[in-house]
Structures are given as structure tokens and as C-alpha cells.
Symmetry: D2
Subunit: 421 residues, 4 copies
């Protein structure tokens, strides 16, 4: 009985999550569905199809008796990186595929949605727990791609000198009511990692002990206004602030400001999903790489927190904030406190000082889904807390996002820490 | 009066040529308009807009009083390579532009067409000759892009494992009735280059004397059946047949057959604008690079003709053949003789042994249009005779096409020659 | 008085360490001093000059009154990567410098050595502690470059089809007397990092607490014989064992065995500093990347130890082994036990599961020497324990070596670990 | 008897030519023999060995009974590009070979020289003609490499901030006594290509008819002084002067002057084999690419001559000039007239407007030597007239040198032409 209730809830959530992906593409022209502005940024059409393939491949093919794929070639076209499943279309050529058309991809979604509903209705009790777990993973997976959908559309639009607008900006949120503080946290043995029965990814468990020295954590993420001071103080010209790889990278790429920033007559402007605008000085700085976050921290005489520090300090903070539901698609100035801290969740992902490595005793999922997270545990840094493009139901204190240190097309910012004296 | 008659004719032709571009995109889905499969292959949308910009930029802006551009940014987006006009969008990023949409590009075409008609109607006699000359260039230019439209669509479609079909194949044309011969041509002083009052590009003139040794020229282009013997004889594995650059290139790229060929269970297949099919043994070989044409000739104990030999031998041959009007979009076996030679025009462009260099005494056009041809006279080889994607009204015996020796996405084949004994 | 005694000791050590660098180049022809086989591998001449420059730049220029550089351009040529000192010759162009000649570099060494001795003799007591500390860093630095000298010579020689021999092989060491075991280690709060007054690099301190789960650590590094089973079991062909970056890398590079291995008629051979030889099955596997170490561990159902586990388990093991002093220049089979473990030090550097990041509360050195270690704390993995090319006086349990995960020209192997049940 | 006389002459020449190669390396340090500053520039050691291998491989192995190679691996190491002989060491890795040492290469030279003398002494009359022809090719080949030896040493030295000096400069040659003129040449049927019984390469024959329009040819090559006006007039900033490939190339490379030029306090300086010096305004401009020569010509309202024009106009001019024998290793101002023209031979190679293609009826040599010239007849431009690094006995009016249009490390300049009015 309990299970049946869970099933209903999950079916409801399935429809909502699946619908949101489509809703997020409503502002697009057909042409916008095709393009891949860089290898990291998949075409919107591809995201819509790949998330669908995920349900087909990991659930329907294994658990819905007699299921037939809509098109067997989709297994090649829409497998992202699961080597153990079979060969897949090269990532950097996703944008060369004009077919299936956007319309055909929507049909594919409907086809798979209908079969998932069928599976819900006919689910034998013996399979229920396994299938519901897989469905939950499928939904979490689709939520991740919803965030990528937005960051990839933003990237693609920014390549076009016509600077298309995805969504009209909402009213500005008034000024920042923040009172900045470095908030002291005690050291000692602590625990981090997911606990409890709710969903988490395999990379968040097990909950485990860590020893922390006492430290302080900033009440707010660093703002545009603060970051401008770093720029104007020559931050991008002084190698002493930079990791060696970072210095090499910014010089090769010619970076001198966050991604999407450019100098206009009235000062620093940025490109947003609502078009070009002046940067908001009270907004958290966004679209910076780990290298830039780390350099800023050194310039400021501080450092980035480790992911253990971040989680330990912020896990009791209420998980509220500027998420995708608010339809801002851009970080906002801090205006409501969650305990001692502002903006712990939402607005911008926060780079940490931690490389993405396995937790002690961690076990990847069995089978192909084991490739979901564990095989990326190298050359990437952990980010925490979600962004303005994250679903509120997707984020939690133990959530580990990860990107290479030079990547900055995500809504990525950072918060400072320092050792206790 | 004569001029007015010319004007009417030209207006008629203007409408026909402009209409053909749009007709050639009728089989496309909206998504197909966007993609650029490689830097050489522009998106269909871009071709439609760029040819339109050409009329706007070189005619309307200078010669239609009070003309206002539909969108001033198009001067940046749709300038191809005219440095003296101003900066332009990088060629390899044309496929990242989702806007203007295909629909907006069609509106742009209508807008410019309407103004060209207006200009026709109000054309002061003092300007007539100049403007009609420019219009002719604009139409010839659009015809060139119609050919590129087809070769670029073919390239883009071939990148997609779903192998989309552009146009259903017409019936096969029956077998080749050819009788192969090497046809002797006398040597001595000859003349090549355009003569007469009809349109030609600046690279085709002046008509000038060349001294030719006696030689023979093949009655037909080399066929797929003949080319298969070269492949099966190890042609791609024996460096002695290859120019040094060619050998390096085929090894780097892993080439072992013409572009679009692949081995299927029933032997060599190829991808065409009508989808995958078995190669036709009597069809002229197509989609080969200059390097492959040259290597084949050496393997066969012959050579490629120079462009002077080609023109001298074939200028009196009637300009008929398998052009874009026949809607085959693919070369066909030889079936109708033009004098002693088959397929001199249409089917496949024929690589010559001649590097693309200026004719003695040649003068590029004045102004930005001087960049049209002359600035490419380096590192390219001349091709002659037009292809199945060329308009019959576009080709002539003096026409000089040119590509880098490694390029093969055009409908490019070749015909053999040899020295007289 | 104590200090004077220290001084004498240090001067003695200075002469010994400086002499060893030159001794290690004795087998070389002049031509061998020049070449840079890849960007990572500096020319022997460069190592000899750069280590000399280090003393000149960080000690003589600041602390020997009236010191004049032998050649002011050496500050540009032999600065490796100290951005805060000034511009430097591009790393990948070190091998294009034929001048200064090897002979001139030896003169440079003598010039600087003589001035260092002069400084020793005239050292005012007020400066003694600082200068002796800098000298110690200079010697440790030179010892690091002695190891690179050997690995770079090996790499350069291996590029030459004539396969030059650096040093005749010593007799084989007989068979391995090992009894393999996974040795259990208790968990709980532990301490790692350097303690005491001896020299350590800034990246080894402060000593700090870590919480460890109970685990086991292998008594021996993985051997060639064991690694061959991984290869023959298809290890390089099965993506499920590999990190995503590792899989991409081995496929791009075409790796299917450790560096320097190749299949000969009598089975796997390898290139060593004593020339080509059959691999020794009982020797520790060597010249593997982190990716390969990590993949092997997954194939074996185990994992790599973290650096904290490694240090905690092995810090009480006696620091003896096959070091550069033994003049083997190649790892040897295990033959003498140090407590429960074999080969903890020497033979091969051992990849750990730990990314190279700062210790809690760590402080880089002041000034340009702060660039020595800290700026590389990104995208690199920690290795522990020293190798057959390391000086015995250079290694200690807290020593942190670090390389990018794809690098394998160092003498790098690994030891397995696993979670306690 | 005649033959015997020829034989003696040839043996004398053999010794002289072989000796010159070694003499040209006398100023080098051992270290200088190893380095390859770019893929185009082979190490001096390699030139000395490759030219020796040429005699061994094409003469001794086929024609000296019982000849044994000094080292069979040299066939792999010192084959440059003869695919039909077998695999060879990659061109861009020639600089990674420290062995054989320079000393060993000199031994190799002695070994082969001794065997060639032996062959001379024992030459059966039946073989004499063939072998003497091959020896002649071997000597011509070595002379070509003597020029490359100088240009490659110059390139290598220029990569070193210490700017080594190869040879002290001779006294400046006083001012230029030239009277500049465009000298008219009649058009009509002409003949070019080698005639007579003296040696020529296979690419220079057969002598054949060409039809030339009347034209004028400059009395002198363009000078540094003239070229500076082009630079100062913004020549490198105006795309209208440039071929499209040239414009792309200079922008990618950041070129704004000839190779080796740089702005010093006292104006334009250049690096020469005698070190850095102020440019000589009356010297022919040197180290320019075809693109730069062509752009200059367009800026000057003229053009480059075709190779037929060059040869027709200059074949009767006496072949005297500033060659390698004068030991200037740098072009000099014009000071002695040869008929109407100055500096037709020596000083600088002159870029022509002609792509390097086969002459009508030309036949490459049989066998592997057929790869010597013919396989490069693509993507290269012809240069005429020899340079200050050419042997006077090596050059002639029909001599065709060829390089890719972007290359400029040779002593390459140019002379203007124009159509008759
Ligand atoms: Fe996914
Ligand atoms: Fe165009
Ligand atoms: Fe160093
Ligand atoms: Fe050669």
C-alpha cells in the first residue's frame, strides 16, 4: 500500500519533470534545437532525446515485457558515454545531426512516456522497488540535463552576434541586504556524506568521518562588485595569484574577466538568458572557472573551502533559494538569510578546494549505471549548492557536482573560507 | 531599346535563378538549414542569405537611391570573404548561428528581390550597363552557390548515421554505350580564354596564345569500374603513384577509396543525394581529390590534361550534358556523344594538371569584386566542364573552377591525357 | 659552534650532491647533452645549468656581497618556471639551444660552486640560518633534477632506433623471495605530514590529523608478472576498468602496455638505461601512468591507497631500498623485507589515489620559492616512496611527489590497497 | 680516354664538393650538429650523413662489388623521403638523434669516400657512363644540401637568445651603383628548359616552346630600402595586396616584416650568419615568402615574372655573382652588371609567379631517383637564380628551385615584372 502511494507520487513527479524539459524549450525556434556551440554544450534536441533514451534503455528494455524501441539507431545516437552499453556517436558531432528533427524527438518522448506509464500501471510487485529506484535515477538525470539545457542554450546564443533573448528579465530584486561576515566553525571529528533513505547519487555515500581543523566560512558568495576589484587590481595580470595550470590557461585563452563579460561604454556588461545587461554589483559573481575562484581567494588572502568544510558548515542550513522554479535564469543579490548564511543553495554552484575523488568505502552502482559518476573521478573539482538553473527538488547538502577546473559555462561562483587563527 | 529587351530578359532570369535556390531547399527540414558539417560546407541558410546579401551589398546599396538594409548586422554575418568591405563572421562558425531563422532568411530574400525589381523598373539609362553587369555577376554567383548548396547538403547528410534522403533517385540510365578512345589533338600555337561579348568571370580572360605539344585526350572521364581496378590493384598502398603531399594526405586521413564510398556486403556502395546505393560501374568516378586523379593517371601510364589542352580540345564540343536541370544530382553513364567526346560538360568537374594562376595580361575587377577570384590564385588546381550540380546556363568551355588538391566534396572526377608519341 | 659544524657538514654535502650530477652525465656523449625528446624531458645540459642557476639566483645574488653573474642572460635561459622572477625561455624550446655548450655549462657550475664555497667561508652569523636553509633547498632541488636527468636521458635514448646504452646492467638479483600479503591496518584518527626539525618541502607540512577507516595494504608493489596477466586478460580493451579520461587517453595514444615495453620474439621486452632486455617478471611494474595503476587495481578488485593511508602504514618502515646509489637505474625484485612491507622506498614511485592538494593549514614559502610546489596543486596525483633514481638522502615517509595522471616517463609503479571487510 | 679524363675531373670535383660540406661545419660546436630548429631544418649532422648515404645507397650498393654498409640502420636513419626504398625516420624527429655522434658521422663520410675512390679506380668501362652520371647527381645533391646546411644553421642559431655567430662578417661592399630600370623584352615564341650535354635535373627538361606576351623585367631584385617603404606604407595591414592564403598566413603568424628582421633602437635590424646587424638598404630583400613577394608586387603596381619570362630574359646573362664561394653568407648590394641585368645569379633566389609543375613531355628519372623532384610538383612555387649560399658550379639559367609559398628560411627575394603597355 505504501508502495502504491509512492508509485502514484512518482508518476506525478515523472510527468512534472518530463514536462519541465519541454517547457524549458518553449522559447526556442526550431533552429535553436540543432546547434552545438562547443563540444561541452549539447544541442537542446539531443538533451531531450538522450534523457528519453535513458528511460528506454535502463528501464523499458529491461523491465517492460515486449517493449520495442521506436528506432534502434537511437541507441547509438543518444547514448552519451556508457561504454559498456556499446559504441556511441562522438560527443563533438552531436551538433551535426539534423535528424531526427525536433518534432520527431518530441514524438520519441511521447512514445517513451506512454510506455513508462504503461509500466507503472502493470508493475509486478516483485519488480516495484528496483524499477522505482531506476525511475528516480532517470528523473534526477533529467533534472541534471535541464540545467545543462539552460547553460548550453546560453552558450549557443552567446555565439550569435544577434544575441538572442531566451526569456525576458524579471524585475530587479532590489539591493542586497547582506551583512558580510566570516563565520567561525569548530573543528574536530565531523561526518559528511548522505544519510537517510532519500535518494542520493552513488558518489554521495557512505556517510563517513572526517577530521576538520577549525575554520571560518563566508556568509555570502563573492559578488560581482567584489570581483571587479580583483580585476581592476590587476588580478588577471599577476601570476602570483594563480595556479600554474590556471595561469597558462588564462593566458592562452586571453581571459581577463568572467565568461560572458565584456566592456561596454557604460562599464562591464554581461550576456544573460535575458540578453545583454550591465552587471549587477550585488549579484554573486558567476561563470568563473575554478582557476579564477582560487586566484581570487589568494588575492583576498583567503582560500576556498574543502567540500567537507562546506557540507559540515552548511548542512543544517535550509535548502531554499533562487532555483530554476523562480524563472530568473540568473543569480540574484542575497535577500533572505538561511540561518547565518546567505545563498548556500541556488544562485551559483560554489567551487570547493576539493578534487573529485571517491569517498572511503564508496561503491559505484552495479552495471552500466556504475559509469554514471565514478569514472569521472579524476581531473575535476567539486562544486556544491546548486544554482539558478537547478531544480529545488534536485539539490541537497551532500550533493557533489564536478567539473574540470577550467570550465565556466555553468552558473559557477564561489564562497571564501579561511583557517581559524 | 535593345537594352530594355536585355533588361526584361535579365529580370526574367533573375527571378528564375533566385527561385531555383529556394526550390533546391524544398526537400529540407528546418533543422537541415542550420548545420555546417565542416568548415568548407556552409549551412543552406547561409547560402540563401549570402547570395541575397551579394545583391544588396554590390547593387542596392550603391545604386538604389534611399535603399535601407533590412538588418545592418547582415553585412557582418553574410559577407563571405570580402576583406575590403569589412570584418565578417568566421567561416567555421557559420553553423553556430540559429538566427536569423530560415523563415527570416526567406523574408530577407523577398525584401531584396522586391528592391531589385524596383531598381529594374526605375533604372536610369546612365546606370543601366553597369547595373546589368553587376546583376549578371550576382546571378552567376548565385548559381555557383546553388552547386555548393547541393554538395554541402550532401556532405551534411552523410555525417548522419540515419543517412537522410534529399531526393528520390530517378530511374537508372541503362548501360554505357561508350567506345573508349584516346583522341589525338594537333600541337602548335592555340588560343584559350574567353572571347566574345557574353559574360565571363575575370579569371577567364584575356583570350591568349599558348603553344601546345601534340597530345591525346580521352573520349570519356574515368569510370567507377576503371577506378575500382586501381583500388584493387593496390593503388592506395603504393607511394610510387602519388605526389608527396598526396601520399601524406591519404595516409593521414586513412583514405582508400573516393569520398562517400564504403564496402558493404554486396561490394562498394556510395552515399548519394538519393541515399545509399551500389556504385554504378559505368558512371564517371566522382568525389575524388586531385591527388587521387593524378595518382590514377600515373598508375594508368598516362597523365591529366593541362587546362589549355582541355579547353583547346573541347571548346568546339557542344555544351550539353547531365546538369542540375536534369534533377539527377548524381553523375550518369555516358550515353550521348558530343562530337568525338562524351561528357565534356556536366556529370563531373574534371581535374586538370594546371595550377590556378592568372592568365597573361589578366586584370581582376575593380573594387571589392576584385576579391571574387584573383586572390585565390595559389595552392589550387583548375577543374573544367561543370557537373550534375551545375546549371547549364552557367558553364562554358573557358570556365575555370578551382579547389585545393585535397578537396573532394564537389562532384569532381577526371579525364586522362597523354603525350603524342 | 653547532652551526659551524652544520656548516661543514653542509659544505661536504654540497660538494657531494653537486658532484653526483656531473658524475651521472659521465656516460654521455656531448651530443646527448643537447636533446629534448619531449616537452617534459629537459636536455641534460639544461638540468646542469638550471640547478646551478638556482644557487646563483636564490643565494648568491641575494647573499654574497658583490656577486656578479657569469652571464646575465642565464637568468632568462635557466629559470624554469618562476613567474615572479621574470620571463623565461619556453619549456618546449629548451632542446633548441646549442649554446652555452656543455663545456660552458660545466664552467658555469664551477663558477657558482666556487662562489658558494666563498659564501660558506665568509658567512656572517646573522645570515647563517637563512642561507643554510636556502642551501638545503638548493641541494634537495638538485637531487630532484638528478632523478629527472636519468628519466630524461632514458626517454631521449629510447627515441633513437640505435638504442644507446647509458650504463651496463649489473647482475640480475636472483629471484623474488617475497610472500605476498594484504596487511591489515587499523583505522581511527591518525597523523600525517612532516614532523621534527629535519628538512622537508613546504608541501609536507603541517603534520595534521586525518580520520582513516580500517584498510589493508599490499606487502609489495605490483610486479611485471602480475601486470602481464592484466594485459593478457584484455585489461587495455575493457572500458569498465578505466577512468573516463584514462580510457580516452590510452585509446588516443594507442597504449597497450607500460611505457618502453614492446613485443619481441621472446615475449615482452623493455628498454632500460642498460639497453633492451626481457622484462623481469619479479620486478615491480614500472613506467605506468596513474590511469593504468588505477585500472589494474579495479581489474584486481582492489584500489590504490590514499596518500594518508600510505604514509600512516609505512612511516615506521625503515627507509632502505634500491636507490640511485646502487647504480642499478632500474627496479629490482624484492629481496629484503623492511618490517612487514617490501620495497616501501626505492625501486618505483607509488601512485596513490590522492589528488595533490594543500594540507590543512599549509603555508607556501615566502617569495619566489613559494612557486616551487604550491602552484602545481591541481590536476596532479601524489606518488610516494622514491625510486631507483632517487637519492637515499632525499626521500622520507612524508615526501610528496606529484605528476599528471597520464605521465609515465618517471619510474612509477604502484601498490594495492583495499577496505577492511 | 676522354672518359678517363672526365673521370679524373669528376674525382677531383668529388673530393672538393665533399670537402666543402665539412668545411662549412668547421665553425660549429659539437652541440650545433644535433639540433633541428623546426621540421624543415635538418640537423647539420643529418645533412652530412644523408648526403653520404646517397652515395652509398645509389652507387656503392649497386655498383661496387662486395660493398658492405658501415651500419645497415643508416638506411633507415638517413633516407630522407624515398618511399620506394623503404621506411625512414620521421622528418620532424631528426633532431632527437644524438647518435651516431658527429665524430661517427665524419667516420661514415670517410668510409664512403674511400669506397667511392675505390670504385673510381676499378670502374669497368661498361659501367662508367652510368656510374659517372650517378656520381654527378650525388654531387649536385650534396651541393643542394650545402645550401640547406647554411640556411638550417642560420635558423637554429636564430632560435637561441645568445645569437651565436657562424662567421665574422666581411667588410661591407660599398654602396649600390645600380641604375634601376624596367627592361623591355619582346614577346613571341620562345624556348626554355635545359639544352646541351651538361648536367641538369630531370625537372629542367625537355627544352620546349612557350608563347610569351611582351613584358618588362626589373634590372635588380627589390632591395631592403624599397621593401621598408612597403612595410611603412602599411603593406602588412592591407588585405587588398595579398592572396587570400597569404593574408591568412601572415595574420596567423603575426608577420610584419621579413624573417629575421626585428625593430631595434636604431631601426630595422636583422639576424645574419655573422650575427645581428642593421639591415643594408641597398641589399636585396631576403627571407621573404612568395606571399610577401607577391603582395609587394601588387602594392608596387607590378607583378612577379613567370619562370618562362625569367629564363627567357636572363638565360644569356653571365652566371656570375655572390655565391657561397665568396663566403659572405649574406646578399650584397649590386655592384657589377651582367649585361643589362644585375644579380640575376647569386645573392637571393627569386620567387616567380609560376607554380612548380612538369614541363610538357618531361620524364622523371627511372627508379627511386624519380622521387627526387617530380613528386613535389604540387603546392610549390618556382624560384630561380641561386643565392649567396649556392655553389657557382651548381646554378644555371634553367635551374628550377621550389618551395611552398609560405616558406622563407631560404635566402629568397624577388624581382618585379610587368606587362608591356
Ligand atoms: Fe546524461
Ligand atoms: Fe559567394
Ligand atoms: Fe627546478
Ligand atoms: Fe637529399
Amino acid at each position: 500500500m505504501l508502495l502504491q502511494n509512492d508509485q502514484k507520487q512518482l508518476l506525478k513527479r515523472f510527468k512534472e519533470v518530463r514536462y519541465l524539459s519541454e517547457q524549458l524549450t518553449e522559447p526556442l525556434e526550431i533552429e535553436d534545437f540543432v546547434v552545438q556551440g562547443m563540444a561541452d554544450a549539447s544541442p537542446p534536441k539531443w538533451h531531450l532525446a538522450h534523457t528519453t533514451w535513458f528511460f528506454e534503455r535502463f528501464i523499458l528494455k529491461d523491465h517492460l515485457a515486449g517493449y520495442e524501441e521506436l528506432n534502434p539507431q537511437f541507441d547509438y545516437l543518444f547514448n552519451s558515454y556508457y561504454e559498456t552499453i556499446g559504441p556511441f556517436h562522438p560527443r563533438n558531432q552531436r551538433g551535426l545531426l539534423t535528424r531526427p528533427t525536433a518534432k520527431e524527438v518530441f514524438s520519441y518522448r511521447n512514445y517513451v512516456n506512454a510506455h513508462i506509464e504503461k509500466l507503472f500501471n502493470d508493475l509486478p510487485e516483485s519488480k516495484a522497488e528496483l524499477v522505482l529506484d531506476l525511475l528516480e535515477i532517470g528523473l534526477q538525470h533529467e533534472q541534471q540535463h535541464q540545467e545543462l539545457l539552460l547553460t548550453d542554450i546560453k552558450y549557443n546564443f552567446a555565439q550569435n552576434p544577434l544575441l538572442p533573448v531566451y526569456s525576458e528579465a524579471s524585475e530587479p530584486s532590489g539591493i542586497n541586504s547582506r551583512e558580510f561576515a566570516m563565520i567561525p566553525i569548530d573543528g574536530g571529528l565531523a561526518e559528511i556524506g548522505h544519510s537517510g533513505r532519500d535518494f542520493c547519487f552513488d558518489n554521495e555515500s557512505p556517510r563517513h568521518k572526517v577530521y576538520l581543523e577549525p575554520f571560518s566560512l563566508a556568509s555570502h558568495p563573492v559578488t560581482n562588485g567584489e570581483y571587479v576589484k580583483f580585476i581592476e587590481g590587476g588580478g588577471y595580470e599577476k601570476p602570483e595569484y594563480w595556479l600554474s595550470d590556471g595561469w597558462t590557461h588564462i593566458k592562452k585563452e586571453g581571459w581577463n574577466a568572467p565568461m560572458y563579460w565584456f566592456k561596454a561604454e557604460d562599464g562591464w556588461n554581461t550576456f544573460t538568458l535575458s540578453g545583454q545587461k550591465k552587471i549587477g554589483l550585488d549579484e554573486p559573481v558567476c561563470h568563473v572557472s575554478f582557476y579564477e575562484a582560487d586566484a581570487y581567494a589568494r588575492w583576498a588572502g583567503k582560500r576556498l573551502p574543502t567540500e567537507a568544510e562546506w557540507e559540515h558548515a552548511l548542512e543544517s542550513t535550509v535548502c531554499e533559494g533562487n532555483f530554476v522554479e523562480s524563472r530568473n535564469f540568473h543569480p540574484r543579490p542575497a535577500n533572505s538569510r538561511n540561518g547565518k548564511f546567505y545563498q548556500a543553495y541556488g544562485d551559483v554552484w560554489e567551487w570547493t578546494a576539493s578534487a573529485y575523488t571517491p569517498y572511503p568505502g564508496s561503491k559505484p552502482l552495479e552495471g552500466a549505471l556504475g559509469e554514471y559518476n565514478a569514472k569521472f573521478m579524476c581531473n575535476q573539482m567539486v562544486l556544491r549548492g546548486g544554482s539558478c538553473a537547478t531544480s529545488s527538488s534536485h539539490i541537497r547538502s551532500s550533493y557533489r557536482n564536478f567539473f574540470q577546473p577550467e570550465k565556466r559555462w555553468q552558473f559557477s561562483g564561489f564562497r571564501l573560507a579561511e583557517d581559524a587563527e
